[in-house]
């Protein structure tokens, strides 16, 4: 009897395995009055092959619509648990990031250790696609945070400080003259919006 009940309970729990695509990074740009999200998806075609990134984009008015759009293009479910970086362009940062941070915190698949960085003077998607190595961006941000060259601000800390007084600092990145990703100072947020950069270089930044 016990075995029968056990087997029955196992039957109730089993189901088809979901096909998911692991995401290693996301980039969010504003295009006119819409947003464009680009996801860096980890593809590994065989066991011996190295993991390579693939990029998919979708446009929409809010984050749920953007994520649904990418899933529609991809044909299966996005697995956001491995996402380690979210890049945002200056326009998104200037709109305010509190709503974005709240949404990401409450998303059941997103990890709170996700790092958000502002892309200075360019497209977030273009910067993410600059490097063809998976997790290269997150390694760069982790290392910079360890060496204190960029602020160590994972998602949970950003959300906390934005809620506390609306101010936050985030790492800024850019594509340098050698077409490589490089740290570009610190983006300062006041009233949840990008206010200025802290390295004193204002020519491609915003007004202080």
């Amino acid at each position: 009897m016990k075995r029968l009940l056990f087997a029955l309970s196992l039957l109730l729990l089993c189901g088809c395995a979901r096909e998911v695509s692991p995401v290693s990074g996301l980039a969010l740009d504003r295009i006119g009055d819409q947003y464009r999200m680009t996801a860096e998806i980890v593809r590994q075609d065989s066991l011996d092959a190295a993991a390579a990134p693939a990029y998919l984009s979708a446009t929409g008015r809010d984050l749920p619509e953007l994520l649904r759009g990418i899933e529609r293009v991809l044909g299966n479910e996005l697995y956001l648990d491995h996402a380690q970086v979210l890049l945002i362009d200056e326009e998104v940062a200037s709109d305010g990031i509190l709503e974005l941070a709240d949404y990401l915190c409450q998303h059941e698949d997103m990890r709170l250790s996700l790092r958000i960085a502002v892309v200075r003077g360019g497209d977030a998607a273009a910067l993410m696609q600059q490097d063809d190595e998976v997790f290269a961006l997150s390694d760069l941000l982790d290392l910079a945070a360890e060496q204190h060259t960029l602020p160590d601000m994972p998602l949970y800390r950003v959300t906390e400080v934005l809620h506390a007084d609306g101010t936050a600092i985030l790492p800024a990145l850019k594509i340098d003259e050698f077409k490589q990703i490089a740290p570009a100072g610190v983006a300062v947020f006041a009233n949840e919006k990008l206010s200025c950069y802290l390295d004193g270089d204002m020519e491609d930044g915003l007004d202080a």
């Binding site: 009940l5 729990l13 059941e108 709170l112 250790s113 949970y156 800390r157 959300t159």
Partner: protein
């Protein structure tokens, strides 16, 4: 041979009650204080209740009353476990399938009796305690002491919330134990309460109260930030498993209380038939 309950088993069973709250309780800077206060109040009341004479505790009326009182905390345990498992592990599975599986597990464990439930709660408690300590130790360098707040009046509200969940369950179990164990109730509740308090404090100092308020399961999510380099990044899974077992142990102990009067009737009928 008559089965005997050792005090350390009883203490472990009582310690499971605050521990089973860890996964579900909302967290802010006052939660740590509220948890320990509520656990100490419960320990005091349960120690007093455990001194009730055995003649009163063995009354038929008493066992029926306790069985009825155990039903609500039992349903509460099963429903919150189902919601947690569905939201975190099995979002695609049917709700009723999970309810059935968890209820079945609780009933099967409850059938072994309260003494054996208490015996099994000792290894569960030790495992949960060690993993809580490990999870706390791995995140200690990320804690923000500036988030720490002195106790405030608002902790009374949270203390009341904890008391509403822990006290009825602890009281029912305390009055249903086959032996008087005031010391075990006090020790178990104090140790379990201290662990609940420390892990809630860890979450508050790690995430901050605003971020924690956004999360459905803040202690669980905070445990996910405990990692050893690139290895074991999903610390929350190791953290949640023994705590789910704690809640299952709680549900099983309450199930034992619910089954007690039925068992009494069954054993009386068996004696009559034998005679």
């Amino acid at each position: 041979m008559r089965e005997k309950m050792f005090p350390r088993w009883g203490a472990a069973l009582f310690a499971l009650l605050p521990l089973s709250e860890i996964l579900y309780c909302p967290v802010d800077q006052q939660t740590g204080y509220a948890a320990i206060l509520a656990s100490l109040i419960t320990a005091l009341i349960c120690s007093g209740a455990a001194l009730l004479p055995p003649t009163v505790r063995k009354l038929n009326f008493m066992s029926w009353l306790l069985a009825i009182c155990a039903l609500w905390p039992l349903i509460q345990s099963l429903s919150r476990m189902t919601a947690f498992v569905r939201q975190t592990v099995f979002p695609e599975r049917s709700l009723w399938g999970l309810v059935f599986a968890l209820t079945l597990s609780a009933i099967l464990i409850a059938r072994i009796g309260l003494i054996r439930c208490a015996m099994w709660s000792l290894p569960v408690f030790v495992t949960a305690g060690l993993l809580i300590a490990l999870s706390g130790a791995l995140t200690i360098s990320d804690l923000h002491i500036s988030y720490l707040q002195a106790p405030m009046w608002s902790l009374g509200v949270q203390c009341g919330r904890f008391l509403r969940v822990i006290l009825p369950c602890a009281l029912v179990i305390s009055l249903s134990l086959p032996e008087q164990m005031p010391g075990a109730a006090a020790r178990g509740m104090a140790i379990g309460g201290a662990l609940l308090s420390l892990i809630s404090l860890r979450t508050a100092l790690l995430l901050g109260s605003h971020t924690a308020a956004l999360l459905a399961y803040p202690n669980f999510v905070a445990a996910g930030l405990a990692s050893v380099g690139d290895f074991a990044r999903h610390g929350e899974v190791f953290f949640a498993l023994p705590l789910l077992l704690c809640d299952l142990g709680r549900a099983a102990a309450l199930g034992c209380v619910v089954l007690q009067p039925v068992r009494k009737i069954a054993s009386k009928k068996a004696v009559k038939r034998h005679a």
